[in-house]
Amino acid sequence: MSASALETREGVEVRLEGLHREFSGVRALDGLDLTLRPGELVALLGPSGCGKTTALRLVAGLDDPDSGRVVVGDRDVTHVPANRRDMGMVFQAYSLFPHLTAQQNVEFGLKLRRVDRSKRAGRARQMLELVGLASQADRFASQLSGGQQQRVALARALAIQPAVLLLDEPLSALDAKVRAQLRDEIRRVQLEVGTTTLFVTHDQEEALSISDRVGVMNQGRLEQLAPPEELYTAPSTAFVAAFVGLMNRIPCRVEAGRASVLGATVRVTDRSVTSGEGIAMVRPEQLVVEASDAGSAEVLQVSFLGSVTHVRVRTADGHELLSQANGAEAARLTVHTPVRVRLVADQLLVSSD
């Protein structure tokens, strides 16, 4: 199916401004600001309970904020009820209407919009084709696998050509393989229809692999919003650094904007710690482990993961570090081998705690 055959619609900008939402004393959202550019796919990532679902429900109109605004295009939709917001949503729980077939499910929203019968059927067919399920159109939800149900749910959400597409962990109930396949499919479909999309997940790989930008949330606030590679290589806060990917936390001394870590001196990117004690954030791939009789560290564990090898070592001062190497060479290290650990980085993030 080519993009030209689909009736697409210009993506719109979506702004979340200072959203607050409190549930009987729990601050689910504590001033969330987030702007999605037209046609962009933004993933919201964060630990459990940080308010991702709450944020999505506020955008969808399924819940009301205590304060703050939701703006779509130039329209303030904060007080518009969910059924007039023109947003497609895919839920974490299976949400197909059990009494309708896949085709009828996809047609549901079109029917409410009084699209005439033949046009409706055609469009539903097209959407099912888009998600690769045209052959299952007459099946009921109970006759479809979990992955298929979520695909129909996606087709159903897209059929109404929503201004915004909202996805709340649509893949979390599926097994790893189907998940990876379906997330790529979601991205393909999203690029094809060009709808501004907010994708909530707590799976980093999912977030990093398919989105234009990733927003990391913590305790009801946005910590950083950046393209995936920037988020990984240049996290702006210690929380983001620790949350995205694996991270070693190594105590260090900072003087005049330079930190001494494992015998090397590197520039500090964060301005918050300019001198004194701090904790350097070091990625496993920034540490190189070499067998050396003079080395003061000791190998604790070697895990060969195929394309990479993880080596866990303990330094002389008792710290455990994780190193990642590409070659198979590191896999030949054995436990208790004395090794030297070298830092390969020209700048580091240093956190104060």
Binding site: A60, G61, L62, N83, D86, M89, F97, P98, F108, S142
Partner: protein, 282 residues
């Protein structure tokens, strides 16, 4: 190994047959006696359909039958209109009120009908004042009367579906609350609705206390009246009401099976592949 199993199977079959015969006799003998009595000729011999003919021809009785059927229909409509939106709303928006609503709905079960009538009589003076003296005003009392049974049935039906997700999905697709209830909730609780409706109909057709004490002529009141003057007509009317109830029950179970059939036949290919499924079927 096979011997005890066979013996057990045989014993089970015997038990089943005995139960069936005893219970069947228990239910059928009174019914057959009713048929016998209501068709007995005037001289004590021969058969006559007079008493049954009266169901259609006696103006008082036909009027009462029509009133009771109308009451049954109105009660079902009233019950559905009152309960379904309320229960959906309570589940989605005001969970804290769930206990209270359940308590209120089950309350009529714990209070004897007689007591309710005594309490409700003054209210009915006003109902009569505003809506006239038609027996159909009994609908209000009957909706209250059937609440506990209808509530139980609908509660089970609503618990069986993921109401929150389904309604949120429908809303995000553009459905208002009315559409959510009519197009999404109701089609998915059809069996529960049918059984709530059936039990309401059965209750209304058999109701005597309210109607009698509030001085309305419904089927049971007229049957009781005939019981004093023309016992045969009274018995034929009672039997007709019972049979009507049976037919409704039968229709209900057929409908229920029909719906289930649609779902399960479709899943069958899956069930066959699992050995466990085969064993259960065999």
């Amino acid at each position: 190994m096979t011997l005890p199993r066979q013996r057990r199977a045989r014993r089970q079959r015997a038990f089943r047959i005995v139960t069936f015969v005893v219970l069947g006799a228990f239910f059928l003998i009174p019914l057959v006696s009713m048929v016998d009595f209501s068709t007995r000729g005037t001289a004590g011999s021969g058969r006559t359909g007079e008493a049954w003919g009266a169901l259609l021809h006696d103006p008082e009785l036909t009027a009462a039958i029509i009133t009771s059927l109308e009451l049954a229909a109105l009660t079902v409509i009233g019950m559905v209109l009152l309960l379904v939106p309320t229960m959906v709303w309570v589940r989605l928006r005001v969970q804290w009120a769930a206990r209270m609503v359940e308590f209120l709905c089950l309350l009529p079960l714990t209070i004897p009908a007689l007591v309710i009538v005594v309490g409700i009589a003054p209210v009915y003076a006003w109902v009569t004042y505003f809506l006239g003296g038609s027996a159909l005003t009994l609908t209000f009392a009957y909706v209250v009367l059937v609440l506990p049974y209808a509530f139980r049935s609908l509660d089970a039906g609503l618990s069986a579906i993921d109401l929150t997700t389904l309604s949120e999905a429908a809303r995000s697709l553009g459905a208002g609350w009315f559409t959510v209830i009519a197009r999404v909730v109701v089609p998915n609780i059809v069996s529960a609705l049918l059984s709530a409706a059936f039990i309401s109909v059965a209750l209304v057709l058999g109701e005597f206390t309210f109607a009698s004490l509030l001085h309305y002529d419904n089927l049971q009141v007229v049957i009781a009246f005939f019981g004093k003057s023309n016992a045969k007509v009274s018995v034929s009317a009672s039997l007709a009401a019972l049979i009507f109830g049976f037919v409704l029950l039968l229709l209900l179970s057929l409908l229920g099976r029909g719906r289930k059939g649609r779902r399960t036949t479709a899943i069958e290919p899956l069930a066959v592949t699992t050995p466990a499924g085969k064993e259960v079927k065999g």
